[in-house]
Symmetry: none
Subunit: 245 residues, 2 copies
Amino acid sequence: MIREKRWEKILSLLEKKDSLQVSEISSSLNVSEATIRRDIIELDQQGKLVKVHGGVLKSNNSYVVRDLTMSEKHDLNLQEKQKIGAYAATLIEPNDFVYIDSGTTTEALAMHITQKDATYVTNSLTVAHILIQKGLHTILPGGEIKVSTEALVGSETVDAISRYNFTIGFFGTNGANEDNGFTTPEVNEARVKQIAMEHTKRKYVLCDHSKFSVISPISFGKFEDATIITDHYPKKKKKNIVEVK
Amino acid sequence: MIREKRWEKILSLLEKKDSLQVSEISSSLNVSEATIRRDIIELDQQGKLVKVHGGVLKSNNSYVVRDLTMSEKHDLNLQEKQKIGAYAATLIEPNDFVYIDSGTTTEALAMHITQKDATYVTNSLTVAHILIQKGLHTILPGGEIKVSTEALVGSETVDAISRYNFTIGFFGTNGANEDNGFTTPEVNEARVKQIAMEHTKRKYVLCDHSKFSVISPISFGKFEDATIITDHYPKKKKKNIVEVK
DNA sequence: TTAAAAATGATTGAAATTGATTATTTAATA
DNA sequence: TATTAAATAATCAATTTCAATCATTTTTAA
């Protein structure tokens, strides 16, 4: 049976029962406990269930704030984004002043954050919502909200962000390559990214492998300016690239 | 049985009985008293129940001065709030520059807004979200987010709001009466309300009848300073009160 | 087709949970 | 206040669960 099918079954079992033991799942699906454990780790990271000693619990994960758009629903790289997000979350240290950009990959990051002893700034309403749900100290810069992405953009946002100095920042991007750097389709959004990046000490760009073949109209940073966290880099590795497996 | 599952059962037993002895729990769940004791320590630390010599008591986790969380507030006087919100929404005119406060009643308002030809400012993430979904032009002041209400509060928010001049504004309140004016439990939130009100020309306070019997610690405005929209005012009508049927 | 990568199941030592036993504390009552 | 019975805490051994590792099979990509 393929992995994804098995995950579905585990989740549907959980729908009926609230909590399951590893042995229960293993015997009802005829798969070894080792495999079920691995599945559980994965599903837990995706926030689909809660892993505890002895088994799993139903996740009352209600932080789906924004309806997914069509393109997001059909996003084939969800898994990769979760992994990238999970890794990036481990980079946040106590007392960090953290900037989190808008985008689906940074949303995945937000879901994995556990560092309570830090302050978070984001221009994404969705990210803000996820962080608040976790009780984290969150600040929003002011400004206009761009309808399609639910992100703050515009001069007021840029002004507000430029008053901050972040110790660490995580950025999403539409395209990334060595010649054009990081690119995005929208001027206002690019401006916010650029300013935030300029005010950030440790810069990380989160991008799944599909972004390396895309070039969008506006650049907001040079390729070598940030550490790139990705699932797979198709060309010869450069030293500022981290591949998450 | 999984530990967490057992905790649920203990708490649901406690729902029915107010107080329990260790031996009771132990025998009804078929686990040793030692284990139940350990569970009790855990649940007590989590504030889910109160541990006493001889057993446990139901935790009464309610302080008068604390804000209810969103979910707690959500279904109180729902019908009335919807009516109030629907009426208030008709007051917004083309080219208005609108302030919308945080709170469940103002959320009801947001849901009924149809005026596309206006600009909206709100300190509530939830209201912002509703407005964006409708494609309305929405602006957020910057600032820290208060976890329990998902509203922006603090000096940065106050600064940002004080730079605006609204043509019309809608405010929620915890308490309202002729002597103490409009009151709310939290200083920072009160400050935001007060400043926003000072910068607003046509002021409306939305409150269902239950608020007239409440006095919260901090005042943010005088009773006669705003037009009050309510479902029912229990005393002699004053001319700044509108009853929505 | 072949080589590389990913997934699986089994094994093992470490970690967590549990129930039983014993020592200590608490509360009731003489 | 002192006494006593009950409740609790502390400790230990047994059991269960877990994470890490490795060999084998399956899938993917070159």
